[in-house]
Each structure stands twice: as structure tokens, then as C-alpha cells.
């Protein structure tokens, strides 16, 4: 019985988790990851990996909540297991603070995170410029550690990760029955989607192990996210900016904004700067497409466009993308003597 050959394009958090879901989903299919960049050089590697969802305008809130809940529950189980350190997932508590009372009463994800409540007056004293806030416990999914762990699990499941820069998804035809496009910003080219635009994020990573809480200001432009080995300070949201080189003035500005929230950061050591281009401009595209061309039909499942919210929804979205890809795979078996796919 011919196993469907599925290629997953992209080895960021979306690509690797989608590939892993596919490899675990029955009936079995042969999964291969194809990517030009792997950790630590993906967009995901720059992300702090906080489980605090962004809101996508064109996706029903119930769907976004489902994706977030599934991701949270999945990572929560890992965080409480012996795998936690290897996977880079741990609990962290903290505050989301506002300079004025937000219009939205309570965010849609309030009952997914743990212990969500309003901050007390005494807690707000820590932030003299802010008048309102939420306190809760969520998860941090340390991107580079997590991606390495996903790669390890994929290899253990017999999923190869092939280093290849594609110019066109048709390059995967006819070797693969289904192509799952998790190429993030690369979809501008690979899916011909001009709506996908970079939202440039610059972050700083510093050593400040006394910082045990996250602080997120308002809509999340300024944040302090403590991890296992460093604290991520951010950030920027520069739409349409492509420059991957860190900008010194931006770094000074980020540091200054974060020190205003957490003055003890002035004593931090070992500052490093990173830039990532979030695949934004449009919301998540999770959609099957049959593309007809001269060479035949290409079955594609698009799974890109997660912007700054990829880590927060990756597992729930990956489950859905994997199910969609599985259902797209051709039903009829190929001739038994078919050669193994070559790239």
C-alpha cells in the first residue's frame, strides 16, 4: 500500500510541529521536511516564545481560542514532565499592564492561561505609570531549545529534514503527493502571496537571572520575558521592514523602555541583539489548494501567516493543518514498483 509522500516546507515552529503532527496522525504517511533554514537561523529562533496569543482579524475567535488551548494544554503537559528542560518549556508568571483601562473587559484567552485575575493596587505600585493590569501564569516555549527538541523527535520518527532552498513549490512535484507550505515569509514567493509582509522585530537578550516574572505592556510592543538562560527584551513592530541587521538606536530604545518597567535590568549583563521578520501582513492562511499546471496537479495545504502569534497557536493549528493535509492525500495507491522520491 503506497504511503502518501508529504513534504512540509519550512523548519520553523510551524513547519516542524506540522510535520510532527502529520507523522503521528494515522493512517501513516511518509513525511519529509524541506527547508532552507533550520534552528538557530529561523524566524522562530528570535521569538521569545511566550504563550500569549495575538488576535487574527479574519479567523473566528472560537477557532483562535481552540488553537491556543490545544497548544497550551500540550505544552503544559510537557512543562510538568521530565522532558521540560529538553523541550525548553516552563511556566512563568507575570503581569500585563496598561497605561489606561483597556476597552476589552477580559481577553478571550483568560481562562486558558492559569490564575488569570486583575492586579491589585499593591501590585500596580510596582508600575507607577500604569493604572491597570492582569496577573496570570503562562508558558514560555524557548524557541531554539524547542525547535531542536522537535527536530530530535522528528528524526526519531523517521522524518528527514532536508536542506534545500526552493524557488517554487512545483519543484516538489511529482515526488510528493501533498505539499504543506509552512514557509512563513517565504510564501510571498512560494505561494505568490503579496499580502505577506515582514513585521520586523528586534529584541535584546540579556543575563538577568533575578528577573522571575514577565512584564508585557499594553498591546505588547514593550516586554520583558525571562527564560531559562536569558531575558528577552522587546521590541519593535516595523511593517514592511526587511533589514535583518540589528539597529543600535533601536536597541537603546528597547533597553530604555524595558528599564522603565523593570529598573533592575540596568544591572543586566551580556547584551545580544537579534532581528526576526514576522510573517505578517495578513492573518493565518490554513487552506488546501489544488494548483493545476502543465506538469499536473499540485496538492498544497498552506499553513503560514502567523505573524507574531506563531508559537502561541502552533500546536492547535498544526493539528488542523495535518488533518487537512492527510485528507488531501490521494486515495488511490500508486503502482507498487514506484521509486522512492528523490529531490
Amino acid at each position: 500500500m503506497h504511503q502518501p509522500q508529504v513534504a512540509v516546507v519550512g523548519a520553523g515552529v510551524v513547519g516542524l510541529s506540522t510535520a510532527l503532527c502529520l507523522s503521528q496522525l494515522g493512517p501513516p504517511c511518509a513525511v519529509t521536511v524541506v527547508a532552507d533554514k533550520v534552528t538557530p537561523h529561523t524566524t522562530s529562533d528570535v521569538a521569545a516564545g511566550m504563550l500569549i496569543p495575538h488576535t487574527y482579524p479574519d479567523i473566528p475567535i472560537s477557532k483562535q481560542k481552540q488553537w491556543f488551548r490545544e497548544t497550551f494544554d500540550h505544552l503544559f503537559a510537557i512543562a510538568n514532565s521530565a522532558e521540560a528542560e529538553d523541550a525548553g518549556v516552563h511556566l512563568v508568571s507575570g503581569w500585563q499592564i496598561f497605561r489606561s483601562v483597556p476597552t476589552e473587559e477580559v481577553p478571550f484567552w483568560a481562562d486558558v492561561v492559569l490564575g488569570f485575575r486583575r492586579m491589585t493596587e499593591a501590585e500596580l505600585k510596582k508600575f507607577p505609570q500604569h493604572v491597570f493590569g492582569y496577573a496570570f501564569t503562562t508558558l514560555k516555549c524557548e524557541s531554539s531549545t524547542y525547535l531542536s527538541w522537535l527536530e530530535k523527535r522528528l528524526r526519531a520518527s523517521g522524518v528527514p529534514i532536508v536542506s534545500r532552498r526552493l524557488g517554487d513549490l512545483w519543484e516538489l512535484h511529482p515526488a510528493f503527493d501533498v505539499v504543506v507550505n509552512c514557509s512563513g515569509l517565504g510564501s510571498r514567493q512560494l505561494a505568490g502571496d503579496a499580502e505577506v509582509l515582514p513585521v520586523r522585530g528586534q529584541v535584546l537578550r540579556v543575563r538577568a537571572p533575578w528577573v522571575k516574572h514577565f512584564i508585557r505592556e499594553g498591546a505588547g510592543l514593550t516586554y520583558v520575558y525571562p527564560g531559562a538562560s536569558d531575558v528577552v527584551l522587546g521590541g519593535t513592530r516595523q511593517e514592511g521592514a526587511w533589514d535583518l541587521r540589528p539597529d543600535a538606536q533601536t536597541s537603546r530604545d528597547i533597553f530604555s523602555r524595558c528599564c522603565a518597567l523593570e529598573p533592575s535590568l540596568r544591572g543586566a549583563a551580556g547584551l545580544r541583539e537579534h532581528v526576526g521578520l514576522r510573517p505578517g501582513g495578513r492573518g493565518v492562511r490554513l487552506q488546501a489548494e489544488r494548483v493545476r499546471g502543465a506538469a499536473g496537479t499540485l496538492r498544497v495545504v498552506h499553513h503560514y501567516g502567523h505573524g507574531g502569534g506563531g508559537v502561541a497557536v502552533h500546536w492547535g493549528a498544526a493539528l488542523e493543518a495535518a488533518r487537512l493535509a492527510r485528507s488531501c492525500a490521494p486515495a488511490a495507491p500508486a503502482p507498487p514498483a514506484a521509486p522512492a522520491p528523490r529531490l
Binding site: 521530565a82 537571572p209 531559562a228
Partner: protein, 347 residues
């Protein structure tokens, strides 16, 4: 006016600092000296995890609740200073776990954001059915003692590494007031049947992903006898040993196993944590803190002793309130001796 502070743990150094800060400007002749046979990193304070948390039940002396509150407020006021890390200070949130429902503690409004644990949070700890979540502070013994030492040195306070054999020795050496901060060894200077060692042992591990403290309680067993996990600035402290009457300062292998197994069972992620160090300390246990004046007579002169010892496992939690009380008692001594040219500065 020569003040001799005996003891260089958190009680001795903070009391010395508090007295110097309050009275140096109104008493130019003030000469504060610290005598101790052990300095950081060899004091009992250095072994403590440093979490500011009072005992669950109300203290037998209601003043202690007030001193706990004062200490918390004092440390919290420093949390935003750029010095916070060099003082060993950090805000930390975490879990207190129980096998049964118990009333909220009297300090629930001292700490920040106190609440009961939700069902999903309790699911993380299968052996426990009830608990609290709150934000508190850690004040890491070693860093804090180093910081206190620097502040005292800047002020010209002198340190003497010497085992003091008697109050008389200090009095005859010229001490006008002695501040007795000798902790568990106070009985060597003056017998105190109420003071006993509460031996503790801790393991320090590298587990930087842990951001919360987890303290378990077994109301039948008593404090510190069930596992606790308290992240510090660089390492995480694992503990759960409290042996009343045990004077041994050596690490014990059975206690090591008890701590390790019970903490790993509580927090499975610790299984790969690297052990960095292991220490034993003797908590100075007493039904209540001895914080009072005593006038002793040696030869023809009176020497005032201000006792400040017996802080059990909550010395760091209560130290500043006690230091201020000791300073207040010192102020009374000065008033009685008509040494003050103007009223002492208020807090």
C-alpha cells in the same frame, strides 16, 4: 559610645546598619564594631534559601507579625532600585501546597496578589488538594550580607574576626552597649533553655527554568519537614529538613536522599538538574524571638545588652523589623544616659 555587635549573620549586620543609620548623625561619638567568629559565607544566613515568608500560624508574640510586615515593606521598597540584584533581592511568585483546606494566613495582605490555587494549578501537584499562590520576595543571604558589609564598611564600621567568650570580655574591653546577635550559639554567652538548633540541610541545583517557589506543608509534621523548592538568583534551593536538637553541621546522606527524592517527586523537571552545592545550617529556634534589653554589671560600670536572637527559620523574613526594634531600644539607652543632643530621627 562604643557599640559592639556580636554576630555577623543577617541579624547582626542589619542591626548594626540600622543603629548606625539612625544615630550616627546625632551622636558623633558613635563607634560601632562587629565581632564574630563566622562571617559570610559561613554564617547560618548563608544557608537560608531567603524566601520572605512567615510561618503559617500567628506568632506567639504579636509584635513579630508587625516586624515581618515592616521587613517585607522595606525590602519591597528597594526592589526597583538598580541595586536590587546586588542586594540579593528579587520578586518571586509561587505555590504553597496543603493536603487539606486551611484558613488564609495572617500575612495574606502583606505579600502581593495572594489567592487560592485553581483546580488546574492543583493538577500539577497530584499529592496536594489545596493551596495558595502569591508573589513574595527572595533576599539571598550571601549577597545581602555582602551588601550589608559594604554599607557598614563605607560608614566606618569595623569588623573583628574573633570568637567572643563572654559579655564581660567585651564590657571590660570598652563596650558601652552590646548587641547580642549570636543566633543558635547565644547559649554560650548566657544559658537559654528556650533556644535550640533546628538543623536544616539544603541542596543547591542549577535549574534556571524554575521561576516559582513551591513549598509543601504537612500540618501534622510541622514547618520545613516536607519538601520545598525555592529558586534563588543563580541556583535553586531544595530543602525539607528540620531536626530539633540536632547540633551536627555536617551534611547527612540520608537527609540528602530525603530532599532529593521528595523534591524530584514534587517537581519532575528537576531530575536533570545539576547539583552545585550542599549545606547544613542550624536555625536558632525559640518559642519567640528574644529581643529585649538587659543591664549587666561588670565591676563598677553598667553594660547594656540588647538581645536579638532566636529567629528560627524566619530570620531573613523578619530581620529589618527586629533591627528597627533593637535600634529603638538602643535609642532608649541613649536617652537614659542623656547622650542625645536632639530627638532621634523618626523612621
Amino acid at each position: 559610645m562604643r557599640v559592639v555587635v556580636i554576630g555577623a549573620g543577617v541579624i547582626g549586620l542589619s542591626t548594626a546598619l540600622c543603629i548606625h543609620e539612625r544615630y550616627q548623625s546625632v551622636l558623633p561619638s558613635l563607634d560601632v564594631r562587629v565581632y564574630a567568629d563566622r562571617f559570610t559565607p559561613l554564617t547560618t544566613t548563608d544557608v537560608a534559601a531567603g524566601l520572605c515568608q512567615a510561618y503559617l500560624s500567628d506568632p506567639s508574640n504579636p509584635q513579630e507579625a508587625h516586624w515581618n510586615q515592616q521587613t517585607f515593606d522595606y525590602l519591597l521598597s528597594h526592589i526597583h532600585s538598580p541595586n536590587a540584584a546586588s542586594m540579593g533581592l528579587a520578586l518571586i511568585s509561587g505555590y504553597n501546597l496543603f493536603h487539606e483546606t486551611i484558613p488564609d494566613p495572617s500575612w495574606k495582605d502583606t505579600v502581593l496578589g495572594f489567592r487560592r490555587l485553581t483546580r488546574r494549578e492543583l493538577d500539577m501537584f497530584p499529592n496536594y488538594s489545596y493551596g495558595w499562590f502569591n508573589t513574595s520576595l527572595i533576599v539571598e543571604g550571601r549577597r545581602y550580607l555582602e551588601w550589608l558589609t559594604k554599607r557598614l564598611t563605607e560608614r566606618g564600621v569595623k569588623f573583628f574576626q574573633q570568637k567572643v567568650e563572654s559579655f564581660e570580655e567585651m564590657a571590660r574591653g570598652g563596650a558601652d552597649v552590646i548587641i547580642n546577635c549570636t543566633g543558635v550559639w547565644a547559649g554560650a554567652l548566657q544559658p537559654d533553655p528556650l533556644l535550640k538548633p533546628g538543623r536544616g540541610q539544603i541542596i543547591k541545583v542549577d535549574a534556571p527554568w524554575m521561576k516559582h517557589f513551591i513549598i509543601t506543608h504537612d500540618l501534622a509534621k510541622g514547618i520545613y519537614q516536607t519538601p520545598y523548592i525555592i529558586p534563588g538568583i543563580q541556583t535553586v534551593t531544595l530543602g525539607g529538613i528540620f531536626q530539633l536538637g540536632n547540633w551536627s553541621e555536617a551534611n547527612n546522606i540520608q537527609d540528602h536522599n530525603t530532599i532529593w527524592e521528595s523534591c524530584c517527586s514534587l517537581e519532575p523537571t528537576l531530575k536533570d538538574a545539576k547539583i552545585v552545592a550542599e549545606f547544613t545550617g542550624l536555625r536558632p529556634v525559640r518559642p519567640q524571638i528574644r529581643l529585649e534589653r538587659e543591664r549587666l554589671r561588670f565591676g563598677s560600670s553598667n553594660t547594656e545588652v540588647i538581645h536579638n536572637y532566636g529567629h528560627g527559620g524566619y530570620g531573613l523574613t523578619i530581620h529589618w523589623g527586629c533591627a528597627m526594634e533593637a535600634a529603638k531600644l538602643f535609642g532608649k539607652v541613649l536617652e537614659e544616659r542623656k547622650l542625645l543632643r536632639m530627638p532621634p530621627p523618626h523612621l
